[in-house]
């Protein structure tokens, strides 16, 4: 509504995962394919390091989603 605001701020998302850790459902939408997965570790030199496992997936209804698993808090987030 005013001033400066960040783009691509992560938003909470509900994800069900397989035993291997890969997403099966994103916000209730079944995952059709995993396009890519990568790990980001950053700010490890600070008291609040970041460890994220990213997944780019395509759901059955055709959406391309980028979600990540926060490996410290265990929560899932959507990011674009």
């Amino acid at each position: 509504m005013s001033g400066t605001r960040r783009l691509a701020v992560p938003r909470r998302v509900s994800v069900q995962v397989a035993d291997s850790g890969q997403p099966l459902l994103v916000d209730g939408h079944p995952v059709d394919a995993i396009r890519e997965s990568w790990l980001i570790e950053d700010r490890w030199w600070t008291p609040r390091p970041l460890r994220r496992r990213y997944w780019e997936v395509v759901t059955l209804d055709g959406r391309d989603e980028v979600v990540f698993h926060d490996l410290r808090s265990g929560r899932w987030w959507r990011q674009r």
Partner: protein, 400 residues
């Protein structure tokens, strides 16, 4: 917001009071502003109508089924706009930099006026009350939303002061109902959804994690959460302006071609008005008094670009006359926003880069007239190579 002392002036049931005109007894009865032509939704309602569960925006059929005795008053949007403009001007005349929130609701920061009026907030409040010269509720608080809340909680003859900082504002807001968020137009739809989830007070909302509120309600939810926690944006006062307007009272009510001719004369008179000072018109309001108690009609027109040519102004305004639902007794044209002096003259010579920059600047101003300050933003890269997407860029107001 540190150090701000925000005063909120609330003129209760402003639109209904204006629409009722001399028939003040209507305000004590179940009454509502009749739906605008083509709409089914009623406007502002009286306190007696609220007791029946009727509220602004309710469909007429439902309102009548709740209260068959409901009186419908023809709206007077043009009259309300005109009186509100006069009230804002009166506040500006005491030195206040005013941010209007909606008709009958405005805020200003009293910090700069304290010494002017002898150092006490009571003196500034008294000056505002005298300037407005009609029943007004005044709330004083460190933030805009807390001041609005205070104004809704006080009586006409007294003001309610919330002393302290943002924490004091949050403590004051905590027991108040979430329906107060409806006083800020962008958040009007939110309280109903919050109440369905059992979030009844602003304190309940403030206690929720911001991330959970953001997930469920998006950016508007986050705005409401910040307000409930006593945080608010700084005031955005409007630029004080001298109204430039022309009115034509017609000897008899007319419509059709006669009305178009009258509007043409009005445009010519407005363009010749010395107060215009050669400036182009960015936006104007066309308003009309309708025949025999039919109320008023008004329409704000934002031109595609600032115009200084009467012919082009006619082309933009005259088609709007066909939307007027009844013959017209008086027609008024008011400039609401000005563009640059002598309009934007397209030249055949000159530096193309400079011309392009000028046109871009002009386009941004026009977009902001239509869509507000946030109508034109730019993506500003701050750390484009960051591995974290949220660190790469921000949205900022477009400036050049």
């Amino acid at each position: 917001m540190d150090g701000a002392i925000v005063i909120c002036a609330l003129l209760p049931r402003f639109e209904l009071t204006v629409a009722a005109g001399g028939r003040r007894e209507l305000l004590g009865l179940p009454a509502a502003i009749a739906p605008r032509p083509g709409s089914q939704q009623i406007g502002e309602v009286s306190a007696a109508a609220e007791a029946f569960g009727i509220h602004r925006g309710m469909r007429l059929g439902e309102a009548l089924s709740r209260c068959p005795r409901l009186r419908l008053v023809p709206g007077d949007p043009a009259g309300a706009e005109q009186l509100w403009e006069a009230k804002l001007g009166a506040l500006e005349a005491i030195g206040a930099a005013v941010e209007p929130l909606r008709l009958g609701l405005a805020c200003f920061d009293a910090q700069g006026l304290l010494r002017l009026y002898g150092g006490g907030i009571e003196a500034v409040v008294a000056a505002a009350r005298e300037a407005l010269a009609m029943p007004v509720r005044l709330g004083v608080a460190p933030t805009r939303f807390a001041a609005v809340a205070a104004a809704t909680r006080t009586r006409v003859r007294r003001s309610l002061n919330v002393d302290g900082d943002e924490r004091a504002a949050a403590a004051f807001l905590a027991p108040l109902p979430v329906t107060l968020l409806q006083t800020l137009p962008p958040l009007a739809e939110l309280p109903a959804a919050l109440e369905r989830l059992g979030i009844a007070t602003l304190g309940d909302l403030a206690a929720l994690p911001a991330a959970a509120v953001g997930d469920r309600f998006g950016s508007l939810g986050l705005v409401a959460h910040r307000l409930a926690n006593g945080h608010d944006r700084a005031l955005r006062p409007r630029a004080p302006r001298v109204p430039v307007e022309e009115e034509l009272v017609l000897p008899e009510a007319i419509d059709g071609a006669g009305l178009e001719h009258a509007a043409g004369m009005l445009i010519d008179r407005l363009m010749a008005n010395p107060l215009r000072g050669g400036r182009a018109l960015r936006a104007a309001t066309l308003s009309a008094s309708l025949i025999e108690g039919g109320g008023t009609w008004h329409e704000r027109v934002v031109f595609r670009e600032a115009l200084g040519d009467p012919l082009r102004i006619r082309l933009a305004l005259l088609p709007r006359l066909r939307e007027i639902p009844a013959p017209v007794q008086a027609l008024r044209l008011t400039v609401t926003d000005f563009g640059p002096v002598a309009a934007v003259q397209q030249t055949l010579t000159g530096d193309p880069e400079k011309l392009r920059a000028q046109r871009l600047h002009e386009a941004v101003q026009q977009v902001r007239t239509v869509a507000g300050v946030d109508g034109a933003l730019r993506v500003l890269p701050i750390d484009p190579d960051s591995r974290l997407p949220e660190r790469r860029a921000v949205l900022t107001p477009f400036e050049r």
